[in-house]
Symmetry: C2
Subunit: 338 residues, 2 copies
């Protein structure tokens, strides 16, 4: 049921029953290493191209989710997935290996929450009992597509973020089928906000206003305050985009910094991993939620969170044509109600 202007309250409270994560070698050197379930030792993952490696990671991640939960392919009603590659080939090719209906998404780094949002609505409508939401990214496939081939060895801007090599998948269920107490209670699909930022090396600045818009509207629609949530997780504003988000709320007299964390900041050790402003990519929030955050929810160290995935919807072509960067952010309220 829609409440307020932009938020959907889910009467059936779909359950996030389980998650699966896989990351690359660099992410395994970061502070969240202990939480990732699977990892690859080499960025090629025994494939002949970075794109094939990314697709194989996504397939492996979803397979792991199904194996560990004991859910057969025929019991999954739909898989939502998306990635950053042109024509979303990481997802399209990974899905060849599943005999499951597939709905492809493009929301750049907002994809994972877009998938959770649509999964929860499929459950709410009773159209589905069990749905998988997935997203992937790979540093090497993204670099050569969006920026420069790795061989070029170019320097990056201090404000630039580093694409995460990783995937995350979540199994969203009707509570009558499987329930662990971790429920999606509200979702707020985002509107595009574009304040004219044109710097492809500063995505945090392009996306912070859309995150501000989505959080503000979510709170207004639900009648909640920032404090309602134990933590508001964004992905991925990076260090500088997070600062901008804090500043935007400060102007309203709200200090969001005390219970806001960004997955792009969490995944790497900023001081020692040479990632400039932090991580990004569809796989960043997907892998961080599917490991660290979900673990904290299960352990009840977190009981109520707002998960917000943020996308920058430009392409190299649009930037070359002088366009600014449209930002979007989708929010998912997740509460452990056991």
């Amino acid at each position: 049921m829609k409440i307020g202007k932009q938020t959907i309250k889910l009467e059936s409270k779909p359950c996030i029953y389980s998650t699966s994560s896989i990351v690359g070698p660099k992410e395994m050197q970061g502070p969240l290493a202990q939480y990732f379930e699977l990892h690859i030792k080499d960025v090629f993952f025994e494939e002949k191209s970075f794109e094939k490696a990314e697709s194989k990671m996504l397939e492996t991640c979803i397979n792991n989710l199904l194996v560990k939960t004991g859910v057969s392919q025929s019991d999954v009603d739909v898989i939502f997935s998306g990635d950053l590659l042109n024509q979303c080939i990481s997802s399209g090719f990974a899905m060849r290996n599943f005999d499951i209906p597939f709905l492809g998404l493009y929301g750049a780094c907002s994809t994972f929450c877009e998938g959770l949002l649509l999964s929860s609505i499929l459950i709410e409508s009773n159209a589905a009992k069990q749905v998988v939401a997935s997203a992937s990214s790979h540093f090497c496939s993204a670099e050569r597509q969006f920026r420069m081939p790795l061989e070029h060895g170019n320097q990056k801007s201090p404000l630039a973020q580093s694409t995460v090599t990783g995937c995350g998948s979540a199994l969203v269920t009707n509570r009558a089928v499987a329930d662990n107490g971790i429920h999606i209670t509200h979702v707020t699909p985002g509107k595009i906000i574009d304040l004219g930022v044109t710097d492809m090396s500063n995505m945090g600045a392009a996306m912070a206003p859309s995150v501000y818009s989505t959080i503000s509207n979510h709170l207004t629609d639900t009648g909640r305050t920032i404090d309602y949530y134990d933590c508001i997780f964004t992905g991925d504003l990076g260090v500088h985009g997070s600062d901008m988000l804090h500043e935007l709320f400060k102007r309203e007299g709200i200090d969001i910094s005390k219970n806001h964390k960004d997955c792009g900041v969490l995944i790497y050790d900023e001081q020692n991993q040479d990632v400039n402003s932090g991580g990004s990519g569809c796989g960043c929030i997907a892998s961080v939620f599917s490991s660290y955050i979900f673990n904290e929810l299960k352990a009840k160290n977190l009981k109520k969170i707002l998960l917000i995935a943020t996308g920058a919807l430009m392409s190299p072509t649009s930037s070359n044509q002088g366009e600014s960067i449209p930002g979007i952010a989708h929010a998912i309220a997740i509460e452990n109600e056991v």
Copy 2:
């Protein structure tokens, strides 16, 4: 409610209340010219690039839908849209102009039915009252991205299809809000089928098996036969892909040719328009459904149709890496129940 293995029966029967279409000059020389609501005289549409022209067409198409139906932006709960361009920039940039939550899709030429499918589920879940489903494509932006720059003047394979310059948008409503009798009664999300076709100039062959799979499963799940529908519309198999679909059904002893039409075949005059195997692109089925087919439904010349959008989920990168072409097809059962 899910019925059978792959089909969702929509108890609330969401309504396709209105549609809007816009096409390019070549489409206006074809046999469906009289049905298109808007058209552009020049492929640049007063913009400086084909990509910007495509995005402006999409914006114009959705604006027209809202104006003609008298629906304000604040009454539209979500827009679904997608296109063929890298990072779906036609949609992302068009949506900057709407103060409406946006969920981006990538399904290649299956996008329009993916949007209708998800729109109908949003209505079914009561998460939304009015949703817009859109898709666009542009011959010139697609040619230079997927094949060759226009200036190259290359010849095309006789089996190749020609990307339609066009957009279509549909307003899907809760029947309590607006009802014209035209209802979505069932949807069948497709699975990826990839039989190993690698020829990017023969997409019909890559997609026909997925169309066959989706239609077969839809009929099994609903207990219907081909004859239940006045017409089964696909988009876009083209001339040769349609022949292959007919052949696949013939092997089962079923003659589908008598009530099957393909939007890629309908939109151009094959003999006189130099389009080889017919039209393709996200905008093909979107514009043909939103004009000719919807008109026929309103006039009750058609009462029950199955609309199937088909996507080929490869990219130039995947094809250059020797991959075959994954096909997908989503089916929407639409019935005029007045």
